[in-house]
Each structure stands twice: as C-alpha cells, then as structure tokens.
C-alpha cells in the first residue's frame, strides 16, 4: 500500500500519551498559537531560509507554541519526521520542478494541506520565501480555509526585466490578502512593499539571526605569516563570483603572502578554477567545494578577512557569521547589507573589482600594521546583535497581532483580489479562488473533518515533549526522549550540507 513510512519516533510519544496524561487534543489557547511553517526549502537542503525556519521554530517551541513544518519530499525522505524538541516535519510527496521548488497546479496540494491543517488544528500558517511555490499554495489554501496567514520574504527582486514583472504580479496576488508580511531588512521591506503594492503598516521588519555559540573565534587556527581571505557562498552569478575571479589575480600578484579559501559549490566554480590555472595559484587559492553546516565555523576561523561579493542580498547571514568568528568583513554595498553591521565592523565597497580591491588593500594594510580589532572584541560586539530568541519574540508579537485580526470571508477576498491586483490577473485569480473554495467544499463532503484523527501534540502547551523533560517522567521515558533528542539532532547535523 502506498504508505510513506516514517522513522519510529512516534511510538514513545503515544506511549507517554497512554500513560495517563492524555493531552486535550483540540483546545486552541489564545496566547499560545499553533503554527504551521510552510516552505519548499528545508533540511536536508541547506541555506539561509532553511536555517531560519529551523531556528525560529525551535525558539517558538521553547516559548510554548506548537510548531510544525511542511515541505516537500527530498529523495527517500518522505512522510513524517521528528526533529529536536519534537519538531514535526511533514515531507509531502510532491513533484520537484525547478531548483527544489515544487511544480504547482494550485489545487493539487489542497487535500493534503487541508488534512494537515485540520488534524494539527493549525491557527496560523506561516509561509517562507517568495521562490517557494509550495509556500504560495499553502497561503492560497489557508485563506480559503479561513486561517490566519503570515509570509516571510527572504529575497530582493528587481523591476527591470520581464520575468521579474511576472513574478511581482504573482507576489501581488498572493500577498494582497495575507494578514501580515515579515521582511528581513528595511531594504527588503521597501522592495516587498513596492512589489506587492502593499500597505507598509502590515509589513514588519525582523532580521535574521545567527547562533553566536556556533561561531566563536579561534585566532590560533590562523596561519601566521600569511593573510587569509575567506569566501563562503554558493558559486553562482548572484553572489558576484565573477568579481571574485577578478579580485583573486590582482591581489595575489600584489601580495605574495595572501591566501584565499573559497567554500561552496556552483556553476561558477569553473571560472574560479580557470583563473587559478591561468595564474598558477593552486596552493594559494583553496576550493573546498560544498561545506557541511558544522564545517563552516572551522573554515571561517582560519581566515583574517571575510569577503562577500554578492550582487544582491536581503540580509547577508554570511557576513554576520564571519564577523561572529572575529573576521574583518569586507562586502559589497548592495541590498540590505549596509543595515546589518555597524560601520566599524564592515568595510563597504562598490560592486566593482577596483573598489573591492581598494577595500581589501586597506584592511590588509591595517592587518599588517596590526590595528584591526581583535577577534574576541568583534565577537563580543556581534554576539548580542542578532539572536534567535529575539527573533522569536518579535515574530510572536506578529502572531498575536494577526490572531486578533479577522480573516477575509470569501466575498471580501474576491473583492480584494479583483480591485487590488489589476483587472486581468485579479479576475483570473478571483476565479481560481472560487474554484479552490468549491474544491474545498467537495473535500469537506468527501472526507468530513470528523473522519480525521486529531494529531497528538509533540510541542505546544500540552506537548508531550516538555512533559518528558519534567522529572516525574518515568526513567524509561526520560531516557528514551533523551535518546531521541540526541538522535534527531545528530540527524540534523548529518543532513546539513552547505
């Protein structure tokens, strides 16, 4: 039978349930929300969005909310998994179309999503990343089902070319009746407001964060007598790898004691390799290829300078990580990057080889003169700036506010669609919304909600996870829960790959 089997962590959960303390299944407490994070991008895939979702969920769970994550299946990782602290992840068997985002027929994901929303009695649906099709589908269906919706935009988008025009129109449609939008930087907020033609009041700015304990400095690892520049990013055009390819020979010819360490994988790797071959820099430019998440820190601490050559960034996590490891950051002055670090921790340059080289020259000179800030000092400055707990707290505020709002009824929604997203697209999507509504009715008739078992909470107010960690839990259960904690976190680390 077409069952997607799941690792057997469910058992202990239920066991605890049956040992007396059965949780009251469908009572939705006002302060504590039941949140469903939806995005195409999640572990084992790696990147900013993925870690954002994971860390945010963890902190929200700490604060006593119920959080589940919905994403699409990665390889044979289908079905339902439990991660640290009983964070439940649904890997839905949807077809992947183009770099890890699913193909959409708008409707085909409705039955599954509805089932999940109902059985987990979700109150707030929180979608991530405007590139994720699944996220937009979930928004669409959640509105149809009358749930509160929040959307986090992680990326910037231009207005110049045709593709961006189309995607912006889609974004307008999908955001026009979303309750609240979260952006990761003020620039990103401006961008999103313009793209979605939104009222800026419903757009909050909540920056990303890094876990400072993961990124601690260690100057002893640096190669003395040399100056090492570290670059960690996917090797793609948007990350300005062509600029890097220009910088490397210029600086290497000038400073014989300069080394480059480049972590990450991508189509532009070819360019770097060609440069390296042309200028015979094999021992001075190290290409590490794709990095696992836990390796990143060990690479970072080997360097003096962290270089970021992105051509566009909403909020560059990489530079914060670099700074947190006590590196002097040199970056292009694009997108939200100027907002991220205080002036004395970052050197901002124009996105040209010339300007970047000047910036690096300056830093190298300082390094030689020895009047750079000490790694420890930088770390101490940075570690307080962005923490996930803070992010979670601010996100929680958004949830509270959203929970108070009323969800648009179908007719209001249609009205909104028709009159705020242009005549053509508006009508089309209004029509689609109607279809979706009808499909929902059909599903309600086919599979009434009374036929669906309410899921047993792992997290949340009555989550079983916290009940174990209480001392009165049987030693057996205790040990088991520990086993799962360690097990799943180990799994996370394994899945993490840069």
């Amino acid at each position: 039978m077409g069952k997607k089997k799941e690792k057997c962590r469910k058992k202990t959960l239920l066991q605890k349930t049956l040992d007396g303390t059965t949780p009251t299944l469908n009572n939705c407490i006002s302060q504590k929300h039941k949140i469903c994070m939806v995005s195409d991008f999640f572990y084992p895939n790696m990147g900013g969005v993925e870690s954002h979702i994971y860390q945010l969920s963890q902190c929200l769970i700490e604060r006593g909310h119920k959080v589940i994550i919905v994403t699409h299946a990665y390889g044979n990782r289908k079905g339902i998994r439990f991660l640290t602290k009983g964070l439940k992840v649904y890997y839905l068997p949807l077809k992947v179309m183009y770099n890890q985002s699913t193909a959409t027929t708008i409707f085909h994901s409705l039955p599954l999503l509805r089932c999940i929303f109902v059985r987990e009695c979700i109150t707030i649906v929180h979608s991530h990343s405007s590139f994720s099709v699944l996220a937009h589908d979930a928004l669409f269906h959640a509105k149809t089902m009358g749930l509160h919706t929040v959307f986090t935009d992680h990326s910037l988008f231009g207005f110049a070319d045709v593709s961006s025009v189309l995607t912006n129109k889609l974004l307008t449609v999908s955001l026009c009746d979303t309750n609240h939008i979260i952006c990761v930087s003020f620039t990103s907020k401006e961008n999103t407001v313009l793209r979605g033609a939104l009222n800026p009041e419903i757009v909050s700015v909540i920056p990303n964060a890094v876990d400072p304990t993961d990124f601690t400095p260690d100057p002893s690892r640096r190669e003395d007598g040399k100056i090492t520049i570290v670059v960690i990013s996917r090797l793609v055009y948007r990350k300005g790898i062509d600029l890097l390819a220009g910088i490397i020979p210029k600086l290497c010819l000038k400073h014989p004691d300069l080394n480059f360490i480049i972590g990450g994988e991508g189509p532009k790797r070819l360019v770097i390799e060609e440069v390296r071959e042309k200028y015979q820099l094999h021992e001075r430019v190290r290409l590490l290829g794709a990095l696992e998440h836990r390796e990143v820190r060990n690479v970072l601490v080997q360097g003096h300078i962290f270089l970021n050559t992105s051509l566009t960034e909403a909020f560059c996590m990489a530079i914060v990580e670099g700074a947190s490891c006590g590196l002097q950051v040199v970056s292009t002055k694009v997108g939200g990057i100027p907002e991220v670090l205080p002036e004395d921790l970052i050197i901002l340059c124009e996105p040209t080889v010339k300007s970047l080289c000047e910036g690096l020259e300056m830093v190298i000179a300082k390094e030689r003169a020895g009047n750079l800030l000490s790694p420890a000092a930088i770390h101490n400055r940075v570690k307080t700036l962005y923490t996930w707990r803070n992010v979670a707290k601010r996100t929680e505020k958004v949830y509270d506010r959203v929970a108070k709002e009323v969800v648009l009824t179908i007719d209001e929604r249609l009205h909104r669609l028709m009159f705020s997203c242009g005549p053509v697209a508006g009508c089309i999507f209004a029509f689609l919304a109607v279809l979706d509504f009808l499909l929902l009715l059909l599903l309600k008739w086919l599979v009434p909600e009374s036929y669906m078992d309410r899921a047993v909470d792992a997290t949340g107010p009555h989550g079983l996870w916290r009940q174990w960690s209480l001392p009165r839990a049987s030693p057996n259960g205790e040990q088991k829960s520990n086993y799962h904690l360690s097990h799943s976190s180990v799994e996370l680390l394994n899945d993490a790959s840069c």
Binding site: L156, G158, P200, I206, R238, E339, P342, K354, R394
Partner: protein, 294 residues
C-alpha cells in the same frame, strides 16, 4: 505617532541596534532611496537613423536577390550573365574590402590571400558539383510549399541577422545558413542546373560577402556607407518596380518606415519610460572581467 512618543529619538535605517519603534513602524523617510528612470538614454535622431539604416539595407539586399531569382525563373536573365556580373562585382568588392582600411584588418586576422582563393574555389566547385542534384532535389514537393518555406527562411534571416555586435537573438551563422537554405530551395525550382548554380553563388555574394564589406565601410568611411546603402535601396526599389508596381511601392514605403519613422517613434516613446530603481536592484557588473581569463 511613535516619533513623538520618544521625542528626540530619530529612526535610523539600521538593524544592528534596538530602536524604540514597533517592527512595522513606517518612517517618513520610508522609500527615500527610490529613484526613477536613472538609466534613460537620450538618443539623437540622425544617429539612430544611421544605425537603423543597416536593417533597411538588409531588406533591400533580400528583395534584390528575390527579384534576380524571379528574372531567372522567367528566363529574362541568363545564368552566365548573372554569374559573370557576380564574379566581376565580387572581385571589385574584394579589392575595395582591402583598400578601405589599408589591409589593416587582414593584417590583424592574419588571413592569407591563398586562403581566400581556396575558399572561393571551394564555393564554386561545390556549388557546381551539387547543382544537378539541387535541381532534382525538390521536384516532388509542391511549388507553394517551397515558396512558403523560402519566405519563412528569408524572414528568419532578417530576424537573426547581426545588425549590431551585442544583440540577444542575433546569430550571424544561423542567419547565413538560413539564407543559403532558402536560396537552395529557390534554386531547385529553376529550369536548369546552371541556373541553380548561378543563383546559389549569387546568394553567397549577397548574403555572405556583401555584409562583410558593408560593415567595414560603416566602421571606416561612413559617408561611403551611406551612399552605398542609399544606392542599394534605390536599386532594390527600382528592380522591384520592374517586377510589380505594387510590390515596389510597398518596398519603398517599408524601407522609408524602417529607416525614418521607427527612429522617430523610438525617440517619442522615450518620454513615457518609467522604471523604478533602488538599493534592492541587482548590481550589474559593468567592467569587462574576461580580460583576467585571457
């Protein structure tokens, strides 16, 4: 309102320090970095006309070729004559090609005359060898099909022709091969194999060699280029008139429209441009980075 709840505190567009404002606070300086139409280029009319001349040029060439083929089809033109004149003109062109820039280009490319001669011989021999085959090639296919196909091909030639160096769709080799394909199709309709031969050689001269010369003229002696292109356009209209009056008039109108009206429209429409720029734009790399690889 938050502003005067914390008097003196001014909102700053930074994330790294906590500010006494709610997360969804909208300052009056919101979107202040928004810019519009910063990359608008001001065109000068005659320069645009000068550039767009090439398009009209190519159109004229195509029409000339078609008319020549029509003459041969009607038997008003003997293949020997066509071939002879073609040979003559191309030798003249060849000489001109070197004179224009004083052999500078030849010096750079390092291409010997022997190579030129060789390719010329190759052209002629292959065409001559294949011409009987060409004649029987498409006899089982209906004439209309052939006409339609060659029309489409010539259109494609016009679309893909490399009018300026950096164009998205342009591909010189594709445009050339399409043109040759069309010429072969047309040639296979002619009564004799010699006709086919003449037509194809003519096609080579018109579609492959002539643009080379023209481009060089354009870059070195602009006046000459203008003169020549005018001449060709007029000639094309003239020969077209000799076939059908309507066609000739239409061609003339089309040429005028392309070379005069379209530039005017372009400049008018510049005023209605409205595109948004801001810090979120993806920075494009202006400088030429390939020098590091070369």
């Amino acid at each position: 309102k938050c502003a005067y709840r914390h008097p003196g505190v001014r909102w700053r567009k930074v994330l790294y320090e906590p500010q006494p404002f709610p997360d969804n606070y909208v300052d009056e300086r919101f979107l202040e970095e928004l810019r519009k139409n910063i990359y608008v280029r001001r065109y000068r009319y005659w320069s645009v006309v000068f550039e767009s001349g090439l398009v009209a040029q190519q159109l004229a060439c195509v029409s000339v070729f078609v008319v020549l083929w029509w003459y041969m089809d009607r038997g008003l033109l003997t293949p020997h004559w066509l071939f002879g004149t073609g040979l003559l003109l191309s030798t003249v062109g060849y000489v001109a090609y070197d004179l224009v820039d004083g052999g500078l280009g030849r010096h750079q490319s390092g291409r010997t005359r022997w190579a030129d001669l060789k390719s010329a011989i190759v052209f002629v021999l292959f065409t001559y060898g294949f011409s009987p085959l060409l004649k029987t090639l498409t006899e089982s296919i209906s004439t209309d099909t052939i006409y339609a196909m060659s029309f489409l091909m010539l259109l494609a030639h016009l679309v893909f022709f490399e009018y300026s160096t950096h164009m998205a769709v342009a591909s010189s080799s594709l445009s050339l091969s399409v043109a040759i394909f069309a010429s072969v199709c047309l040639a296979s309709r002619l009564p004799g194999s010699l006709h086919a031969f003449a037509t194809v050689t003519c096609a080579i001269e018109v579609f492959a060699l002539w643009p080379l010369l023209l481009r060089r003229l354009k870059s070195h002696v602009p006046q000459g280029y203008v003169a020549v292109s005018l001449l060709v356009s007029v000639a094309s209209v003239a020969v077209a008139l000799s076939v059908t009056v309507v066609g000739g008039v239409l061609l003339a109108l089309l040429l005028l429209c392309i070379s005069l009206l379209c530039p005017y429209l372009l400049i008018c429409l510049q005023l209605h441009k409205d595109n948004i720029h801001g810090p979120w734009d993806e920075a494009e790399i202006t400088e030429d980075l390939s020098r590091f690889l070369r």
